[in-house]
């Protein structure tokens, strides 16, 4: 089975048409969420913190939160939304009466999740830039990190979704996987200063760590060899999972 780009795009367009109808409603909360985080934690908690990683706390926080926004955008799409389309709305059953194949469904859905993540992360970036927290032009290098974060978490999430028997399993995914990632992936404090020795190497498996470190390096103008490792991790894990998900989606949609 080969992937057909036009058919994958028709799947993407289905979701885009749905989103286009309600984008105003969807986008508005997107603007407020970063503002709340920056106010409460960046400015509020930050007032008690001299500096972190060599910058003010709110500046430390900003790039990581962009990645978190992208992570959340992709994750909701590939978990709850895909599951509902698959199991309750029979969307894929209808698609598979046309030349669209399971591989195209997977590709289109992942592309859409990346789009959604890019919208979330992009809005966050905009708010942060308006606050003057994004040093220009260097911070612009962080923009490509947003879809990369989306891709990584779309792939992790869809891999999980294709395995779960019921929707109840998503609460595990969010509270036992995404929440700890959010708290312990360099977003709120530099883990390299908290962890030592072998634990620092173990922490490298955390998926959110890589986009956050990458985005922060872009903001601070300190891209280096480790950034290359971060990109390699994101791309490598995404493609490995894509290969696995292709087999799983075939088994799930074709009986």
């Amino acid at each position: 089975m080969t992937i057909s780009a036009p058919h994958a795009l028709s799947v993407w367009k289905r979701n885009a048409s749905m989103y286009a109808r309600t984008w105003k409603l969807n986008l508005l909360p997107n603007f407020f969420e970063p503002v709340f985080y920056l106010m409460a934690i960046g400015v509020g908690v930050g007032a008690y913190i001299e500096e972190m990683g060599g910058v003010s706390y709110v500046q430390f926080l900003a790039p990581g939160l962009i990645c978190v926004a992208a992570m959340n955008g992709a994750s909701f799409e590939v978990t709850y939304n895909i599951y509902v389309r698959m199991s309750f709305e029979n969307v894929y059953e209808a698609m598979l009466t046309t030349p669209v194949q399971p591989d195209d469904v997977l590709t289109g859905e992942v592309l859409w999740a990346v789009t959604r993540a890019t919208i979330y992360g992009g809005v966050f970036f905009l708010v942060i830039a308006l606050y003057g927290l994004a040093p220009m032009p260097g911070a612009l290098l962080a923009l490509p990190v947003v879809p990369l974060t989306g891709l990584l978490f779309a792939m992790i999430g869809v891999t999980y979704t294709l395995r779960v028997p019921t929707m109840d399993f998503f609460s595990f995914y969010f509270t036992l996987f995404l929440t700890p990632l959010f708290l312990f992936s360099d977003v709120f404090f530099p883990i390299e200063e908290r962890l030592g020795g072998v634990w620092l190497l173990v922490a490298e498996v955390l998926p959110l760590l890589h986009p956050v470190r990458l985005a922060r390096s872009c903001f601070s103008g300190t891209l280096g060899w480790i950034s290359l490792w971060d990109v390699a991790y994101i791309v490598g894990v995404s493609f490995a999972l894509f290969g696995w998900a292709r087999r799983a989606v075939g088994a799930r949609l074709i009986s």
């Binding site: 057909s4 036009p6 058919h7 028709s10 799947v11 367009k13 289905r14 048409s17 749905m18 109808r21 709305e89 029979n90 969307v91 059953e93 209808a94 698609m95 598979l96 009466t97 046309t98 030349p99 669209v100 194949q101 949609l253 074709i254 009986s255």
Partner: protein
């Protein structure tokens, strides 16, 4: 002999060690309307799904348009349309938007996409509510929309899984007329139905499924002639009265559902006279034997039989 659009040879499908379809051979002639009949769970939907390639047969071979479905499902599906047993519509969107989105799965682009949407809104009379969210529309309207969607790509083969279940008589009549029009234009139709009057009216040939096997196949008329006598005498009577009534009529095909007895005879006149002789409560009716009688004769009248 006309070419077959769909050919099944020795097709079987096993779900968890249980055969849902068991050694089916079928030929659907080009331009015909072919009906799959059978009780709930007989394997009709599974057979259709194998024809368009979303269920893979455990054994056997399926060719559609001469192409092996297992090899090139994409090519096969670009030339056919499917109306699923359960509608799958985008509820917040209008019929027009639903058609448009579905057309894109077939890679239809403007201006062809809009032209096709317009044509189908006329063909299935969707124009009155073209802009209303689908969730606010009646079951009949939603069903018409589902059928319209399966016609987006001008299919050579139209697969309809219970197209008229749950629809009112007017909508059913309208859909039958549309199906006949499509057939007149050369579309081959493969449908399932639980309504024997529908099958008799629409189908050139039918196959009666029971427990995954084709028990009988042919034109509705042939099937009736093959299995039962031409006339049916229906009456209310208990088993004792039945024995008395039919004691010297020789071997007759008959069927009982509760207190209702159906007797199949070539000429019902003499038997009817004897029923009148019984007096009052039999309420006899004589009618031509129909496909429903044949269906019940093949698949049984007891619900337990049908279920398991």
């Amino acid at each position: 002999m006309t070419a077959s659009v769909v050919t099944l040879r020795g097709v079987a499908k096993c779900f968890d060690g249980r055969l849902a379809v068991d050694g089916v051979n079928l030929d659907v002639p080009a331009g015909s309307c072919f009906g799959l009949l059978g009780p709930n769970g007989a394997g009709k939907t599974t057979t259709l799904r194998m024809v368009y390639g979303v269920t893979q047969p455990s054994a056997g071979e399926i060719r559609v348009f001469g192409v092996d479905v297992a090899r090139d499902a994409r090519a096969v599906r670009s030339r056919l349309g499917v109306t699923l047993q359960e509608n799958s519509l985008i509820e917040p969107l209008s019929p027009e938007d639903n058609l448009r989105i579905f057309g894109r799965y077939h890679l239809l682009a403007e201006p062809e996409l809009s032209r096709r949407v317009e044509e189908l809104m006329d063909f299935l009379e969707l124009r009155s509510h073209a802009g209303v969210p689908v969730r606010n529309l009646s079951g009949g309207f939603q069903r018409r929309l589902s059928i319209a969607m399966s016609l987006m790509n001008r299919p050579e083969l139209l697969i309809l899984d219970e197209p008229t279940t749950g629809l009112d008589p007017a909508v059913r009549q309208a859909l039958w007329a549309r199906i006949r029009e499509l057939q007149a234009e050369g579309t081959t139709i493969l449908l399932t139905t639980h309504y024997m009057d529908e099958a008799e009216r629409l189908c050139d040939r039918v196959a009666v499924f029971a427990e995954g096997r084709v028990e009988s196949e042919g034109s509705p008329r042939d099937l009736i002639a093959r299995h039962l006598a031409a006339e049916t005498l229906e009456l209310e009577c208990d088993e004792a009265t039945e024995a008395a009534l039919l004691s010297d009529s020789g071997e007759l095909r008959k069927m009982r559902a509760g207190n209702r007895l159906m007797v199949y005879v070539d000429d019902a006149a003499s038997l009817l006279e004897r029923v009148h002789g019984l007096g009052g409560t039999a309420r006899p009716v004589v009618r031509p034997t129909n496909l429903e009688d044949v269906f019940l004769a093949i698949t049984g009248t007891r619900i337990e039989e049908a279920e398991e």
